[in-house]
Symmetry: C2
Subunit: 212 residues, 2 copies
């Protein structure tokens, strides 16, 4: 695609994502996307043959960004300390730092939005969302297993489901934050998850500060 075509492609996706996060996928008409992106219907259909194609590309882009967030923040934590439990605390600390800056509720997660309109998408789109969540599970569970090998957790815990707790807290906190119209909730909930890991692995708050 020519440079201009790429820019238009991105503008359509950005407009669609913003509308979908505010009102859902089904309620977002192609006409609204066209109006917001400032393009013609012909241009829209040149880029996206159908609305489900657009939904699929949005899910793919969201998954790519999500995976980049995971990798970037985990690598930063790995560079700060060799201790895997502490790495996980620092991994969460980076998200807490960001979420503490928010002054309005975060619009939420595209996957959660799609999840509650699940009947409307193709299987390949559902797979993108599932694979993305499993990438998080695997990366975090590996770290949890390394942490448990170094020092036994205070309670017996399953690494996969504890890894899922990160996604669970994000997803749940987005919903409660939006519903209560309170921007602080995501940071607060990530802090509770961090507390849980601290208690499980017996880490002091000072250890996070020293490593950060």
């Amino acid at each position: 695609m020519a440079r201009n075509g790429e820019k238009t492609h991105k503008a359509i996706m950005d407009a669609a994502e913003e509308l979908i996060m505010a009102q859902g996928y089904s309620a977002t008409a192609i006409d609204q996307i066209i109006a917001r992106a400032g393009i013609t219907k012909g241009t829209f259909f040149y880029h996206f043959p159908t609305k489900v194609d657009l939904a699929h590309e949005l899910a793919e882009r969201y998954a790519r960004r999500d995976t980049r967030q995971l990798a970037g923040k985990m690598e930063a934590a790995e560079q700060a300390t060799p201790d895997p439990a502490l790495q996980l605390l620092l991994f969460l600390e980076q998200f807490i730092d960001i979420a503490e800056q928010w002054t309005t509720p975060y619009p939420g997660c595209l996957f959660a939005s799609f999840c509650y309109e699940a009947g409307l998408f193709e299987d390949r789109t559902t797979e993108v969302m599932r694979d993305s969540m499993l990438v998080w599970r695997t990366r975090i569970a590996d770290k949890l297993r390394a942490a448990a090998a170094r020092s036994e957790p205070r309670l017996p815990v399953d690494a996969d489901s504890l890894a899922d707790a990160v996604t669970v807290v994000f997803e749940g906190a987005f919903i409660v934050s939006r519903t209560l119209d309170d921007a602080r909730i995501v940071a607060q909930q990530l802090r509770h998850l961090q507390n849980y890991l601290r208690l499980l692995f017996g880490l002091e708050a000072a250890a996070i500060e020293r490593a950060a």
Copy 2:
């Protein structure tokens, strides 16, 4: 409303809720609700002048049921033990017992579904959802404050945000469970929250079993 009218009213709401949980509110056409409930368009509009009126009544009914769940399970816990921290563990244990029986992912929470289509509802409907979440926060936070007064938690925690964690875990676990098509996730995540409370208040697993 006559007895028959009440039955029809409920049948419309049940049909609508099931469709909305599967595909979202916007995608759920009145024609689909009519077909599923086996009624005429005239009957539908006799009961619900508009679709947003139906949405509002669905939110109200969901909130009533939600509050009943909260009250019933908290009272059962209070009857089993006078210890407020242990009451909270037993409160969660009852939901874990239910969630462990599920063989397919729970369809999720109506409020979460509505949250991601927020632009489509009236303010009074948003208020019903907010009030319902705040009832949970208040009831659970009171219990947490009573528990903290009896025995200092191992880490300093804010009662309100820790109370919100219950709603956060439900909401997040519903989404992850649906996306990964894994029915076990809600019980697993509630268990992690229960573990966190156990570690905070220094309670053994045996204490739950004795009180249950």
